[in-house]
Amino acid sequence: MAAKREAPVESQKTARIKMVLNGEAQDVVFAPYKTLLEVLREDLGHTGTKHGCELGECGACAVIMDGKPVLSCLVLAVDCDGREILTVEGMETDGRLHPLQEAFADLGGMQCGYCTPGILLTAKSLLDHNPHPSRAEIREALSGNLCRCTGYLQIFDAVEAAMVEIAKRGETTK
């Protein structure tokens, strides 16, 4: 029952923006209806960013845009012209994992790992702005990121361990 093939309108990549993705300038061409989440995953091959709802309800798609965490499923890609985006793929520097990544790996901060990229970036944004958050502040910052596996406590432990490590690394570079 195969039908004849004409071009669907959806695939027409008529939108074009420039953005900086994980430190690299990008010229991005895509179908204009797409969200940042879809452009990252489908047009730029950055599948590290996940989705659990695509309605702004779960936090799995969080990325950092111009220094602030955003839910990429709620951001239209056409609104990202000139923006700087950081995804989980950009957290490593010089082949070294970010202290948050190390701590999550060591302390049970992830199980299935599906919520992890969103949580890592939300936590990074917290620590970037508040290097010594209390546990209450960590709970608050992560309250929009759902995780069904861990029960959150090992995530809190990991964020706190990373906080200590970042402070240590900062001192040694001083």
Binding site: R5, P8, Y33, T47, A105, D106, M110, S143, L146, R148
Partner: protein
């Protein structure tokens, strides 16, 4: 290695975004599939017109039920699903057609062009409606009307047991359904490979069962189908059935000769469901003044939803494990599962057991209060003993229940808190028992439940091929750790390939907490066999008796003279030179459980049982009914913690999920007003409305492992990923009672219910919220099995002669 906190083998991929889940797969020429789902809970399909959809630009293919008419289902006795409904829809969300197009959006647009002519049928909302309305029958194969399945057992003379009791307690409980809500929505990509065979990448917990079902439905030899279970973004039982979309994309890929992908929306995941069965339960328990139980009678009315799924097993589990926590000398269980026009229920973490456990543990709290015995003390008096054979012939092994209770009482400060905290604050205690892998597989045969292959070569790499499925629980890591421990190497020197039916030997899947024990024992066997070959070759080389060789620190050396050594890589080379290519296998088949010979006695058997005790402390706001969990203490008898970081994660994750079930999670339905079709629709098919515990709600948890190695467990280990969930809900209910003096005999314990119970209390009526009636029904003649202490030999005294299994659909095995 074993017993030490360690980074799991799949950690790096998961924290860098490199792990490829099903929806991350994108292949050249890939097309997209969308399903058209029924807006009606019950209707006959008169006709479907797909012509306009097919003519839509960008559409490749439209499929309907006629294209895939063969039925499947996870259990051999419930082959009641088709990939797309053929002539009837049975719940809102049941799929009726599929569009495959170049773009996902095109497929979605084209769905709207499909015209389905439905003849609306009356709907059945719950078991009581099902009982009152045998017609229309949702499935023709049901036992009677809309009763899907009934089970009835009597172990010993229960009426006599009640006659011997000093007090008889009768309570009715309701446990609402809830769902798994994995963070990853189900997704699949099917490919017709270059040989013309089928490969399906999919988010599943049970690739082997899916493999079988695909072979049946597609009428293809299983040997020509490869199922790859991609790393699973959360399962909890919700990805253990074969799903409609998996067959549809497979069929489409075979027809189109191009990859076809589907990625479900969150709303669709709610329709897939297979979550916790709602259960309405009546408990009658007779006790002596000292708390000894003389008899228990449990009746369980189970809401199954629209299909069989694992439901027959769930119906057994709705009563079978009641005897494994406390000594119950006489026990009658009657359970009935009903078909209703809602998404099908199935196995969720704890499968069928949390609901009756809730009733049992709350009732014991009531008994303790009436008898003026401390609830911890009462439980200690009646706890099962190691190696006990229960009334229903389940053979227990190691039992750490007593230690669990004693330790949780000590670390929680129970004695200073129970009935002593100020109004509004309270503590509650509950216990549980769970199994480590089902003793029986879904398909009865003599073959192993788990298999492992190892390949070792001169590169020094040890490759581990497993059929197991990594669903986040850490199975890849646990298997690598066991092999590393035996061979004296690091987990980083092992590469694990799992979840791929082409690469790994058969494993039945990640369910029933079976992987660590079953696949683990297989892995140890494979590793021991490789070790034996290496030891023989090294012993010759070093001229040392092979019994004296030690494998440690990536070397093989003489225990008496450690300087006499070769590296691990050299040891492989020696073995390869001596024996040729080195590959070993291991397999695991559960021991025979000869005790239970009656029909149905295989359900509940397990190589090992775990025990948990939980104390929870809560604050209850009497004005709003809001419950805040202040702190929770858990002790869990897991035999041995193989990797304490992972074990703690399993325990805390279970408790988290249990707290959600206790306080807020519910898969509930409502009827639309009659002017809007009167249809039965899902109340909360979104993550915003389906409430779960967030990072703000999660209390502090103190977990203590009770370790006592079980001889049947690998390195002594038993399960820890399901058991700790079970005591949470009753512990919360008991704590609410301690705090404000009201009994909430229903899960979830929402603020509204607590406020209502408080109002009852204030009005001088029974301070309780819960079901106030229980349906009358015929349960059928129970199978009478005298328990061991009445001289029973595990056989029923009234068992009808077993027929040579004519009812079970004969399995068609296709050979290439």
């Amino acid at each position: 290695m074993i017993g030490h906190a360690r980074r799991r083998v799949d950690a790096r991929g998961k924290v860098t975004g490199q792990t490829i889940y099903a929806d991350d797969i994108s292949l050249p020429r890939m097309a997209y599939c969308k399903l058209l789902r029924s807006p009606h809970p019950h209707a006959r399909i008169r006709s479907i017109d797909t012509s306009r959809a097919l003519a839509h630009p960008g559409v490749y293919l439209v499929l309907t039920g006629k294209d895939l008419p063969i039925k499947y289902g996870i259990l051999p006795v419930s082959q009641d699903e088709t990939p797309l409904c053929v002539d009837r829809v049975r719940h809102v969300g049941d799929p009726v057609a599929a569009v495959i197009a170049r773009e996902e959006l095109t497929a979605a647009d084209a769905l709207e062009l499909i015209e389905v002519d439905y003849e609306i049928l009356p709907t059945i909302a719950d078991p009581e409606e099902a009982l009152a309305n045998p017609e229309p029958r949702i499935h023709d194969y049901s036992e009677e009307g809309n009763i899907h399945k009934r089970v009835a057992f009597e172990f010993g003379d229960v009426d006599k047991g009640f006659a011997e009791a000093d007090e008889i307690f009768e309570d009715t409980f309701f446990f609402q359904g809830n769902t798994h809500l994995p963070m990853e929505q189900h997704a699949s990509v099917a490919v017709r490979d270059r040989e013309g065979k089928l490969t399906l990448y999919t988010s599943t917990q049970t690739p082997h069962y899916l493999h079988r079902a695909l072979s049946k439905v597609l009428e293809m030899p299983a040997g020509h189908i490869r199922v790859v279970a991609t790393p699973c973004g959360g399962g909890f039982g919700g990805k253990s059935d074969p799903f409609n979309h998996e067959f549809v994309v497979s069929k489409a890929a075979l027809m189109l000769g191009r990859p076809v992908k589907i990625s479900l929306t969150r709303e669709e995941v709610f329709y897939c469901h297979r979550g916790r069965h709602p259960m309405l339960m009546k408990f009658r328990t007779g006790v002596k003044k000292d708390g000894t139980i003389t008899a228990m009678h449990l009746q369980n009315v189970i809401d199954g939803g629209a299909y069989g799924s694992y439901g027959v097993a769930s119906t057994f589990y709705g009563g079978t494990l009641q005897t494994t926590t406390y000594h119950i000398p006489k026990y009658r269980y009657q359970g009935a599962r009903f078909f209703t026009n809602k998404p099908p229920c199935g196995p969720k973490r704890g499968h069928g057991t949390p609901q009756p456990r809730f009733g049992q543990e709350v009732q014991i709290d009531k008994i303790a209060e009436k008898l003026k015995i401390d609830p911890a003390e009462l439980r200690l008096r009646i706890a099962v003993k190691p190696n006990e054979l229960t009334a229903n012939f389940l053979q227990l092994g190691t039992v750490g229940l007593e230690q669990c209770i004693r330790r949780v009482v000590a670390i929680s400060g129970w004695k200073d808190k129970f009935r002593k905290l100020p109004e509004g604050r309270g503590v509650g205690l509950a216990c549980s028992c769970y199994l480590t892998g089902a003793g029986l597989s879904i398909y009865w045969n003599a073959m192993p439940h788990s298999g492992i292959q190892l390949k070792l070569d001169r590169s020094g790499c040890v490759t581990l091929f497993a059929g197991t499925t990594e669903i986040g629980q850490g199975s890849d890591d646990v298997l690598a750790a066991m092999v590393a421990e035996v061979l004296g190497i690091k987990t980083f020197d092992i590469r694990v390939y799992s979840g791929d039916t082409d690469l790994g030997p058969v494993d039945l899947g990640s369910y029933s907490s079976r992987v660590t024990l079953m696949a683990g024992n297989a892995a140890i066997q494979a590793a021991e066999r490789a070790k034996a070959m290496m030891a023989e070759a090294v012993a010759d080389k070093l001229e040392v008796p092979k019994e004296r060789l030690r494998f440690a620190d990536s070397a093989v050396f003489d225990a008496a003279a450690p300087e006499k050594r070769v590296t691990f890589v050299e040891a492989i080379c020696l073995a390869e030179a001596r024996f040729g290519t080195i590959g070993t296998v291991g397999s695991y088949t559960p021991p025979k459980f000869p005790a239970a010979k009656y029909k149905g006695g295989g359900v509940g058997t397990s190589p090992a049982y775990t025990f948990s005790a939980t104390v929870v402390e809560v604050d209850v706001d009497t004005a709003t009914g809001l419950v805040r969990v202040a702190k929770l203490w858990n002790t869990h008898d897991l035999g041995r913690a193989l990797n304490p970081v992972l074990a703690r994660g399993q325990v805390e994750g279970s408790i988290y999920m249990g707290l959600g079930e206790a306080l807020m999670e519910e898969q509930d339905y409502r009827r639309l007003p009659s002017r809007l079709s009167h249809a039965l629709v899902h109340k909360f098919p979104s993550m915003l409305d389906y409430k779960t515990i967030t990072s703000l709600d999660m209390p502090e948890i103190v977990t203590e492992f009770i370790e006592g190695p079980d001889a049947r467990g690998p390195f002594g280990a038993k399960e820890c990923g399901q058991g700790p969930l079970l005591p949470v809900m009753p512990a919360v209910a008991n704590a609410i009672y301690d705090a404000v003096g009201v009994r909430i005999d229903e899960v979830p314990m929402t603020p509204e219910k607590i406020v209502r119970a408080l109002a009852e209390k204030k009005a001088g009526r029974a301070p309780r919220y819960g079901p106030d009636h229980f349906p009358e029904m015929s349960w059928g003649e129970p199978l009478r099995v005298p328990p061991p202490w009445d001289g029973g030999d595990g056989r029923a005294i009234n068992e009808p002669p077993r027929q040579p299994k004519p009812s079970r659909e004969k399995e068609k095995v296709l050979t290439p």
